[in-house]
Structures are given as structure tokens and as C-alpha cells.
Subunit: 341 residues, 2 copies
């Protein structure tokens, strides 16, 4: 039988209340008493039963998720997973609130974070947008002792406790290897399409992509990055004109959202079918494009995994419990038509 607070109290010769004070590091206990209790804990190998503690405390984990609004399929998928987790979270004493903010808008994100009541929230997860005001807003939450997790897009210089997402440089390298190898020995040029080169993820993916193409595929040449603003119409326009203008395109790396625009352009001319295309994020559109042979590979991060991981990490921080690293590592997933889940 595992030792309980009763055993610790008896061993230390104090009452339950005192054991509890020491376990929860509350003040107002003599140093000598603290030492006695800690000795008893160590001697018995006591570990607190968090489920019982949560029951007694009537603990409620109140987690706020701040995510971008707008038509971005990946973000909507993330929101869907969030709703899924939320609907079953009451059973786990967890209350999830969703705050939506305009995409790519640091000021709006910061304002939303500032609006969070530190007394009514026990943990925060957000898709970060790089901006000084965001960093300041996170610092305020951090000072209030609120755990913070960034998702999908990191902000390493901030007070966040964890990042839940993929290594985007590695993702870019992966895309380059796939395109380079799928293109066979054909020499040629590669079109790069981002949402915006102001977004950290896209910059990093591009960097990784370039590295590998330069080092390993000297016959391939990366053309300057097109910006489709993660919007179908803009992407259609920009990419369409690009393909009409440039000759010898053997590959396209679409590193942002806006898969729909890419698909429209690719299916507009039979000749475009030979182009090797690697895109990001598994959505209804990209799945279909894989099946139709329009896309050759899709690099994905599992939105459901990211949400569940963020929840686990926040709770672990709140409780001061350890996490299993392997479980929280988000994989750079490669999907071909054949291994679609």
C-alpha cells in the first residue's frame, strides 16, 4: 500500500493539517516542523495522490486557448480539435475557453492576452505572433504565475514555458529532400510559395529548404519566394502568373496555407501535373490533392496531438508533475497518398 498523509502525519508526529501545509509549501510552519515532515515524506516515499487532492480542493483547471480566426483550414482544424477536447473536459475538471483573434496581428493578440483575468485563468495556450507587445503581455501572465504554452508558431524569446509544434527548419529540409528525390535527375527550377515572409514558421521552412537544395541538389534552383498571404484568391493569382511566366519549373514547395489556391492552379493545365508538389498540413483539400496525384507529399503536424499536448503540459505545470517527453514531441509527419490516416 502506498503511504498516505495519515502515515506521514503519524511518522512526523504532527497533524494532517500540518502535513498539508508542508506538502503545499504554505507558510506559517516552524522550520523544525517542516524538516520533520519532509523527513517523514522522504522516509516513507510518500507521493501525493493528485486525484484525491483535486477532489478535496474541488479543483478546476481553467485553460484559455487563444487562436487565430479566419478561413485558414489548419487553424479551423485546430479549433475543431479544441472543441472536441473541450466537450469531454468537464469530466477531467477542466474548463477550456477559446479566444479568437485576427491572424498575424500582434496588437490584437496582445490585447486579447491583456484581457485575460489572471484570477480566472490557470493556464494559457496561444498561437504566437511575433511582436514586442505580445512578449509584454506574456510577461504579465508569467509574473502572475500562469503557465504559458505556444502552439504551432513559437516565440522563443518570450516567457512561455513550452512550445508545442514542429521544428520548421527541419520541416523545410524534409520538403527539399522529397522534392529533390521525387524530381529524379531532372534539372530545373523550384517555385516557393509562402503565406508571408514575416511569419517565423515560413521563414524557417524556407531556410531549411534552401539548405538542402543547395547542398544536395545542385541541378535544382530555388526561385524567389512568392507570397500568397495564406489566401486562396491571392495564391491563385500569384502562382498562376508565376507558372505562366517561368519555364522549367519541376517543383513547387507550398510552405504556408492556401492549399486551395495551389490546387486550383495545378488543375488548370494538364502540363502542370508533372510538377512535383509538396505542401503543408493535412486538410480536406490537401488530402484530395494527394489522392488525385496533384500533390506528391504533404507535411503535417497533428492538430489533435497539439491540443492534447498543450492541455497536458499546462496541467502538469499547474500541478508540478512530470511529463513524458516522447509523448509531447510533435512529429514532422510525411503523408503520401498511401499512408493517409
Amino acid at each position: 500500500m502506498r503511504p498516505t498523509v495519515h502515515d506521514v502525519a503519524q511518522e512526523a508526529g504532527v497533524s494532517l493539517a500540518t502535513v498539508d501545509r508542508v506538502l503545499n509549501k504554505r507558510s506559517g510552519v516552524r522550520g523544525i516542523t517542516v524538516a520533520r515532515v519532509e523527513a517523514a515524506v522522504a522516509k516513507l516515499g510518500f507521493v501525493r495522490d493528485i486525484a484525491a487532492a483535486n477532489l478535496a480542493k474541488q479543483r478546476l483547471y481553467r485553460l484559455a486557448f487563444v487562436i487565430p480566426e479566419g478561413p485558414n483550414s489548419f487553424m479551423r482544424g485546430l479549433e475543431g480539435e479544441l472543441e472536441r477536447v473541450r466537450s469531454s473536459s468537464a469530466l477531467e475538471r477542466t474548463q477550456i475557453s477559446i479566444v479568437k483573434v485576427p491572424a498575424f496581428d500582434g496588437a490584437a493578440l496582445a490585447a486579447a492576452l491583456d484581457r485575460l483575468d489572471v484570477d480566472a485563468v490557470s493556464g494559457v495556450a496561444l498561437v504566437a505572433t511575433e511582436a514586442a507587445v505580445v512578449r509584454d503581455a506574456l510577461a504579465r501572465l508569467s509574473r502572475a504565475g500562469i503557465p504559458i504554452v505556444t502552439m504551432v508558431s513559437d516565440m522563443p524569446a518570450s516567457k512561455r514555458d513550452h512550445y508545442v509544434g514542429i521544428d520548421n527548419v527541419a520541416a523545410g529540409r524534409t520538403a527539399a529532400s522529397l522534392i529533390g528525390r521525387f524530381a529524379g535527375r531532372r534539372p530545373g527550377r523550384i517555385g516557393l510559395l509562402a503565406g508571408s515572409m514575416l511569419v517565423r514558421d515560413h521563414v524557417e521552412r524556407r531556410m531549411g529548404f534552401d539548405q538542402v537544395i543547395r547542398a544536395e541538389f545542385p541541378d535544382l534552383e530555388c526561385l524567389p519566394v512568392l507570397e500568397g498571404r495564406d489566401d486562396a484568391a491571392v495564391t491563385r493569382d500569384v502562382l498562376g502568373r508565376f507558372l505562366e511566366r517561368e519555364a522549367g519549373i519541376v517543383g513547387i514547395y507550398s510552405m504556408g496555407a492556401g492549399n486551395r489556391g495551389v490546387i486550383d492552379v495545378l488543375s488548370s493545365r494538364p502540363g502542370y501535373r508533372d510538377i512535383v508538389v509538396v505542401a503543408h498540413e493535412l486538410t480536406d483539400h490537401s488530402r484530395k490533392a494527394l489522392r488525385d496525384g496533384l500533390f506528391d507529399a504533404v507535411i503535417n503536424q497533428d492538430a489533435g496531438h497539439e491540443i492534447r499536448s498543450a492541455v497536458r503540459l499546462l496541467k502538469a505545470r499547474i500541478d508540478g508533475t512530470p511529463v513524458i517527453d516522447g509523448q509531447e514531441q510533435i512529429r514532422i509527419e510525411i503523408y503520401l497518398r498511401d499512408n493517409l490516416p
Copy 2:
């Protein structure tokens, strides 16, 4: 506030004990009383707090994992993950016992299952080996009301409640697409290496592989399957002689264990470096082979995920609670040198 058993008791005009009897479907309650309690539950939207119930019951989930012994790196990895989960499982009222049995030995597996005391075990997970005696052993456990999960290798015709692992036909298809595309337009022949064609996983992988090569890469030809018995020495011997004997080999699909033997052979002649190689399971050896460019891709199933999923599924069955399907789906992971975790 969520309603509790007290609220239900009051609403139904009965005592807590009776509410409990109805909730847990225990006998000895008048039909009319059952109906009254059920009506109250429905009216209030009562959902039992499992953590509190587990506390009161002093519930202990006793899970038995039956896995193959022997040097197979993947299985040893699985065991490592199992140990990891086990070490932190006491906190979750879970006791995990590990039973090791000879690999590919249906009789031994069945005997181990028969030895399991149905009164001392609340759930069983196993790596299945196809055999009638195994099916019978599982039927006995199932009759005793014990949830069963197969891992890695399924047994669809048995009484198992869940399969935790990948679709091996799809994995084979994936391997074929990778080899076919990585080989470029080179025509040639492909060497297939399995552990044993008596193992369902390997048969299925081979099937998927063949399908895709025939349908989509008419210039490539699959040679008869070599059997390396998932053993480094045998693999080395069989594959070594194969490569000396056969000409025009452009690809190798290693669908079983025994990566070490494959690596030894490939590194023995500089000429072998051009062969496109796809293997299974991420291990120290296969990671290094990827980094060294000896392997071109590795198809993996996440052992840690499989263990955690098996635990969650067994507990959910025991408690009668729902699962999140997406979380329990094991992915067919593709690793290149660039996206190694």
C-alpha cells in the same frame, strides 16, 4: 456545478446506496426504483466522477502486457516504453505487469495467456501470434470479462476488443511508392526481405508493396521474398548472397526486423550505396543508417504511442468511458534523414 450522487438521490427520493446500485447496475433493486433513479440521472444530466469513484473503491487497474522476448530491437523498444509508463503508473492507480514469451511461438503465447489469473488481472495487451490455441486463450479471458488489446500484430478473428498498430498493407504500399519514386526512372529489380512469410504483418506489407509496384511502376520487378528470420546473421547471409547473385537491383524493401544485417551488407560494397533502401522501425541502427545515407527512408510505428494507447483503451473499456479515436490511431510514420525526431 455538476450534479452529484446526492442530487440524484434527492431527486429520485432514494438513498445514496440505491443510487450507487443503479449506477453500477448491481442487482437487487426494484424495477420501479431503477426507473426513478434513471429518470433523475437523465433529468439532471448526471455523469459520475470517475476519479472520486476510483478513490472510494481504491481501484487498481491491473494490466498485463504479453510481449515477445529476444533481440528484436523494435520489441525491446516497446518494452522500454512499457517500463517507462510502468514507472509512473502507480500514480494513476495502475499496475502493469510484463510477461515475456518466445517470439513467433503460438503455443507459448497461449500458455502464457492461460496462466493469467482472471481474478488478478483487469486488462490484457499482447503482441499476437496467429494460432488457434491463442484464439482459444483469448476467448477464455474475454468470457471472464477481461478487455483485450492486440498490439503491433493483430488477430482480427479473435475476441480482442481493439487493435493498436498500423495498417500493414498501407505500410507496404507506402514503401513501394517511396522506392518507386526515389529510384527515379531507372528500370530494375527489387529485393524483398521479410522476417518470415508466416507472420501476418510481413505478408500484408508484401501484398501492399506488390500492388503499388505492379500498378504504377511497370519498369520495376519484385523478386521472390527472402526470409531473414528477423536475425542479423541470417539476414546478412541471405541478403549478401542475393546481391552477389542478382544483377540490376535498384531497390530493397526490408519489411521485418534484422536491420543490422541489412546495414552490414549494404556497407560492405561501395556499389551497394546506390540501391534505394526502405526499412521498418526506427531504432538506433536504422537512425544511423538514415543519417549515413545507407537507408533512404524508414517506416515507423511509434512504440511509446502504442503502449500509452493500449493502456488508455484498456482503462476505457474497464470504466466504460469513451475514447478519442484520433488519439488512438497509430500513424504510418515516414522518416527521412531530415525529419528524424
